[in-house]
Symmetry: C2
Subunit: 243 residues, 2 copies
């Protein structure tokens, strides 16, 4: 399993993803799921992936190869984020169809992606690319997108995230959302990749890989966990408890 | 969809369930999912249901008819909770197989149940009955069970519920768990049925139907929502925020 979340606020974009992949519960590995592509002076892209690991790795390699070989269509030639999403979706579908149709197999090789970033002259944007290659863009009414094991970590996003939320608060909320998910699903696990991309910056303001014992993350987890229990213990008493 | 949660602590059992059923998003109804059966002086059973509404209603009616007609196997003749779970699981499978096999249809008519209660002379018990009729019993290591849309409301249960938790705290935790679920999934909705069954009492200590504007539930939702935002706003600052 996987859990990735990307948040689009007025000041820019925040991305967070776990690092556990598994093929069955007895074959667990660590693979970061966040990749970045910089087109110096022109664009910056962050790609988080979920699904078939062979497909997501192949897509990431194809993107880098197209950039290195300066082919006619690549992230360097995309006019905007929509172009980039269509390009990556096409790579993903072509890879899947090779194994499904050309090699005539019934297995699924589906992959999904969160793509965020900015092309110079355009606004930052955030989209989710489906296994079928098409994509949707985030809505200002719920300015975040999730991949993978999305439910455990959704309530806190729904309560906190708005367009006006600061990049720092969006990053903290992503970390809390990942913490709730990791506690409830063993197939989502650290290290956590966290990246903050300010609007019009074209390079990350901050980028870390956090482990459970990384000082900041450990203190956030402790404060959140203890605070939740305090809050719970101060909920209003039932009528008959007051008697 | 449905969300039911049942909690087994040292002092007794707590049950909570929502009331929304839907066949597609354009056909939504209100059906409470919690039924109780009292065998005066001998036993008390609480049954929460999820899945095919025709099946769950048929099972509840069959349980009541067997009690009314004093047939040879009914909740009144069960020696313990395991007997009761096997009896209800059998009713459920027989109903399903009638429509699937006898009437030769491919549709699924699956239903799942949470069964809790106590037979005099035995300890209280809590089990989940699968559509296949078999069942599992709760574990003291995670003394709660859920049906339906379980994920949104699971993190708070994992943080709070232990065997030593009071019945009142277990009931509050169930309400918070339902609140998180209702905020994230429109197919889970009030009124909420809440029932507290103390050990060795054989009748509920408390039973309500709560709406969003019921005074206690409204104050709990408000305190929890505001408290979460306060807690979030007091999470530790990132290093660069302190500069």
């Amino acid at each position: 399993m996987t859990y990735c979340v990307a948040i689009a606020v007025d000041k820019g974009l925040v991305f967070a993803s776990d690092s556990r992949t598994n093929a069955g519960v007895d074959h667990i590995s660590v693979y970061p799921k966040m990749n970045t592509f910089e087109i110096p002076g022109r664009a910056y892209f962050v790609l988080c992936s979920a699904g078939n690991l062979a497909t997501t790795q192949a897509v990431v390699k194809a993107i880098q190869r197209d950039l290195d070989h300066e082919v006619s269509e690549s992230l360097a030639t995309c006019r905007d984020m929509s172009d980039a999403a269509r390009y990556i979706g096409t790579l993903s579908v072509r890879h899947r169809l090779y194994y499904q149709k050309e090699l005539e197999q019934k297995a699924t090789f589906d992959a999904s992606f969160l793509l965020g970033g900015q092309v110079r002259g355009e606004s930052p944007d955030l989209m989710m690319i489906y296994p079928e290659g098409n994509y949707i863009t985030y809505s200002p009414y719920s300015p975040y997108m999730q991949l993978g094991e999305t439910k455990y970590g959704k309530p806190i996003l729904d309560r906190v995230i708005k367009c006006a939320t600061s990049l720092e608060d969006a990053a903290k909320c992503a970390l809390v959302s990942l913490d709730s998910t990791m506690r409830s699903n063993l197939s989502v696990a650290p290290p956590i990749d966290l990246l903050i991309l300010e609007k019009d910056a074209f390079e990350p303001a901050h980028r870390w890989q956090l482990k459970l014992n990384s000082p900041y993350y450990a203190s956030l987890r402790k404060r959140w966990g203890e605070g939740l229990l305090d809050l719970f213990n101060n909920l209003p008493a039932f009528d008959w408890e007051k008697e």
